[in-house]
Symmetry: C2
Subunit: 288 residues, 2 copies
């Protein structure tokens, strides 16, 4: 397997900026995230303080970021990272059933705006999953629920419906899965995930549904669930001024690295993270 | 006198970004620096990693920053700050003979690339000056030297020549003062500033010149000479992730706040500094 120099997780301004700086310094870069970029960018009505681009619309900024990636020759790999494992002198990134490797990792996943559901933390890995492609097979022939927060949740529900028995789909945005006999869409508010040792039901403001798994498909997951051992402060990864985390070779930038939540701040931190990651690559080259 | 909410010192990407964010949050902003912006920007041949503006020339980036300032309605006040004084609940900024006031200050002055000359630190304030408009009168009728590093050094030498007896001008860039009977331009390398209790001569690789003052006109001065009591680390002001310094109400961003020296990083930090300054304004409003 190819080992990338630097894997960047996230396609908001922070991740894109990091990938651009790493690429123009001739690093072998893996940029993981949605090809639609961060939904938050495109949806922004108008951004007044992206320095150098006065009164830019979210859609235009997204277009410019995409054009910049094209210009330097970075492609987006549209895969969701389920977990990052620290392997000593490299990192393994679990993307569905695939494992990818990189010497350094830059986390630019944004932040989870929502509070976890009642029962979500407690039952994570025991019927609560953040990744349909990773865990679908575990629920073959069973009933599952999908809480569709992210732009591609609907698509993931369709994928799930081909493997599991039935999908209860709760849309948390405006995207719906195609009509299929075993997908049921209900517009209710999820209240709690129930179960003692593993998930048994989802409770909503409309009732209780017996299911074996709840797929909570947000755009971002809590960083300490993504990377075991990373030091966090609430929803943020702790970084220093050089965007270093407590794990050597792992860097963070953008919203996940703390407030303020601003596009130009994210882009600036992405640049710092990339240069720090390059510094790290040079360091470990000397150590070998 | 008007007291500004926020004074921003420096017109590189950090200072401009700070001023833009502060202005769109309806703060009363004073942006101090050269109308030509930071010379370093305009002179950059091509910048590949200013996220969103692929392969932008320095001149074009400067034009875009200027257009953004126009767009939000921030004017550049073309004055050089000689010193910043901490006055308790506000700051006083000495600009020549004028004193300006601001509740919060953002330092975005860039960094001094050059090492100080032999004798420069020792004789600062005793014949070594960084500000022609501030100190010209002290040398009325005397011979002075100007080391012209910054873009407007030549102009300052012309101003000096109207007050002092004679000006020895050493150009450190490509800009020269107008021909005047009492300005002598010599293309020599300055080696040391001589004098026991005060400056008596300038030593160059071409000889020794008896003078009463050496005006060292760089684009930036060392931050601890600009702001007494600010905590520094070499040429950098120490900041935290929110761009706070050890002095309450004083923030720093861009090159002066540490490496890497990158345009997009500077713009990002300017944004953070502005939001932190606004937070500070809200805090002290509550305290009153």
């Amino acid at each position: 397997m190819d080992r990338f120099d630097i894997a960047v997780i996230g396609t908001g301004p922070a991740g894109i900026s990091a990938a651009i700086t790493a690429k123009i310094r001739n690093k072998n870069v893996l940029l993981l995230g949605s090809r639609e970029l961060s939904a938050k960018i495109s949806k922004a009505h108008r951004i007044d303080n992206y320095t150098g681009l006065p009164a830019v619309s979210g859609a235009e900024l997204a277009e410019r970021l995409r054009a910049h990636l094209d210009n330097v020759g970075v492609e987006i790999t549209d895969k969701q990272v389920g977990a990052v494992y620290t392997m000593g002198d490299y990192f393994a990134l679990q993307c569905g059933e695939e494992m990818l490797e990189a010497t350094a990792v830059i986390v630019a996943t944004g932040i989870v705006q929502a509070k976890p559901l009642d029962g979500e933390d407690r039952l994570l890995g025991r019927g609560v999953s953040y990744c349909a492609t990773c865990d679908a097979r575990l629920y073959k022939g069973k009933a599952v629920a999908v809480l569709g927060y992210s732009a591609d949740s609907a698509e993931e529900a369709e994928f799930l419906s081909e493997i599991v028995d039935s999908v209860l789909y709760i849309p948390m945005n405006d995207v719906f899965p195609q009509e299929r006999p075993n997908i049921r869409v209900v517009r209710e508010k999820p209240l709690a995930i129930l179960g003692d040792r593993s998930v048994t039901a989802l409770k909503t403001d409309g009732g209780e549904y017996e299911i074996a798994c709840v797929f909570v498909l947000r755009d971002a997951v809590m960083p300490d669930k993504l990377i075991s051992g990373v030091e966090t402060d609430g929803p943020h990864i702790k970084v220093d001024l050089q965007m270093r985390t407590n794990i050597r070779g792992l860097f963070a930038c953008g919203d996940v690295a703390g407030k303020p939540y601003q596009y130009i701040k994210a882009a600036g931190q992405g640049n710092i993270a990339a240069l720090s990651a390059i510094g790290y690559l040079n360091e470990i080259k000397k150590e070998v």
